[in-house]
């Protein structure tokens, strides 16, 4: 294997380790974009290299060479990939493709279901910016945004009762930020990439955290007070813990994704509260540049590997 072949397979592992520190250090909006674009590039690069390894092994089969008009002698003299490695890569690529198709299918059906049911919701008449809010009579404490056209904000009466008017505004501003900035697209993209390459699961989790932080900062800006936003989240989370809304499963941000071990440090809500109580996030150019460089190396390596294989095939074809 050449450097250009293994780099795109190794860099996602580095990104997996770097995702959470980046998510906590960069401004949430920047971090969300960075991690989402990185997920796509890294998933594409790693799947691309798997395909190249499988192809490089395939050209060692005389029948394939004959069919493609290539000289087997030229192929063998150019040191193509090993056959066992190629079979392994092909199997991994097939698994990645299956998982990606399944992820697209699941996400699309879930979005369609959400859309159809939000359409059937009566107009609650509570226009709140980009999304309409629906108040559910439920003593359980819960609030969420259902993506759709338009997105809908659902708030339980238990949640409203747990908060004072200023805190309700923070809650609505937070949910409006989710709806208005289409955060579900970022989480969907992250999940698709993580399905294709499970090494990217930590990036998907980090993106889930980043969109919450993004909405938190927008809510704090709308309320004009970061401590107020922090207190609202803490109050709502404690109220929700003592009076959870009825539902079949109560998962964190990206439910069905395998969760990183909870033992490591505080959970998502305390980290969000702590971030709001600390200084406002500022752009750290060095971190950003390092992250972009790492992802660019993975992408360019995969392109380089593809160029090499293409050149080898052309040589073998002209030698036939």
């Amino acid at each position: 294997m050449h450097v250009s072949e293994w780099l795109p397979l190794v860099i996602p592992a580095i990104a997996a380790v770097a995702a959470r520190p980046l998510a906590e250090r960069l401004p949430p909006r920047t971090a969300t974009w960075l991690l989402a674009i990185s997920s796509v590039i890294l998933a594409a690069a790693s799947c691309g290299v798997l395909g190249l390894l499988a192809l490089a092994a395939a050209v060692r089969i005389p029948y394939v060479d004959a069919a493609a008009g290539m000289s087997i002698r030229a192929v063998n003299s150019s040191d193509p990939g090993s056959v066992p490695l190629g079979i392994l890569a092909g199997a991994l690529l097939a698994a990645a493709a299956t998982a990606a198709v399944r992820a697209v299918w699941l996400r699309t059906t879930a979005l369609m279901a959400a859309h159809q049911h939000t359409r059937r919701l009566p107009r609650a008449g509570v226009l709140t910016g980009a999304a309409e809010a629906v108040v559910v009579q439920d003593d359980g404490v819960d609030a969420y945004t259902v993506p759709g056209w338009p997105s809908r904000i659902v708030v339980t009466s238990g949640m409203l009762a747990a908060l004072n008017p200023a805190e309700r505004e923070v809650l609505l501003a937070h949910e409006r930020a989710h709806a208005g900035s289409c955060h579900y697209i970022f989480t969907a993209v992250a999940r698709l990439a993580a399905a294709a390459n499970p090494l990217l699961i930590p990036l998907a989790s980090a993106i889930g955290f980043c969109v919450e932080r993004w909405a938190d900062e927008r809510a704090a800006a709308a309320a004009g007070s970061r401590p107020l936003a922090a207190r609202t989240i803490a109050k709502a989370a404690l109220a929700a813990a003592s009076a959870p809304a009825a539902r079949s499963h109560y998962a964190v941000l990206l439910g069905a994704l395998p969760r990183p071990a909870r033992a490591r440090g505080p959970g998502v809500v305390p980290r969000r509260v702590a971030a709001l109580l600390g200084p406002p996030p500022r752009l750290r150019l060095v971190l950003l540049v390092l992250a972009v460089a790492l992802v660019a190396i993975a992408g360019l390596s995969a392109l380089d590997a593809a160029g090499d294989l293409h050149a080898m095939i052309e040589t073998a074809q002209s030698a036939a």
Binding site: H117, V134, D138, L172, Y184, A234, L277
Partner: protein, 130 residues
């Protein structure tokens, strides 16, 4: 992109929407029908009585509130939880979807016991009481 800082032509419409949300929240929380005067008391914030009447009648026109005559005025209550029923039905269907949790963005996710303690300590800090 819908920015909050984007206080342009839409701001008065949004303000009306927020008032409707606030009025509906007051009625949802109260549990009994309220007159515009009572809603005004609970909303606070220096609103005019006529504004509250306008908001409530608009919500009534949209089918969100029912109204009953009480003396010379009307009193208002949320419609027999029709939006609530529909939203609950929606949640039931989404519960069946494997991808539901990833589709919804929830305001607060679950807490571990350690998280709860941490949050209580954070709330107790004087600088976090805003």
């Amino acid at each position: 992109m819908h920015d909050y800082d984007d206080q342009g032509a839409g701001s008065s419409r949004r303000a009306a929407g927020e008032l409707e949300a606030a009025a509906l929240a007051v009625l949802q929380a109260s549990g009994s029908a309220l007159t515009p005067g009572q809603v005004l008391d609970r909303l606070g914030g220096g609103l005019a009585y006529t504004t509250v009447v306008t908001i409530l009648s608009r919500l009534h026109a949209k089918g969100v509130l029912t109204r009953l005559r009480s003396g010379r005025a009307y009193s208002y209550a949320p419609v027999a939880d029709e939006p609530g029923l529909a939203a609950r039905r929606m949640r039931g269907v989404l519960d069946a979807e494997a991808d539901r949790e990833a589709v919804l963005t929830r305001f607060v996710s679950e807490l571990s016991p350690a998280d709860e303690n941490l949050l209580r300590r954070m709330l107790a800090q004087p600088d976090s009481s805003g």
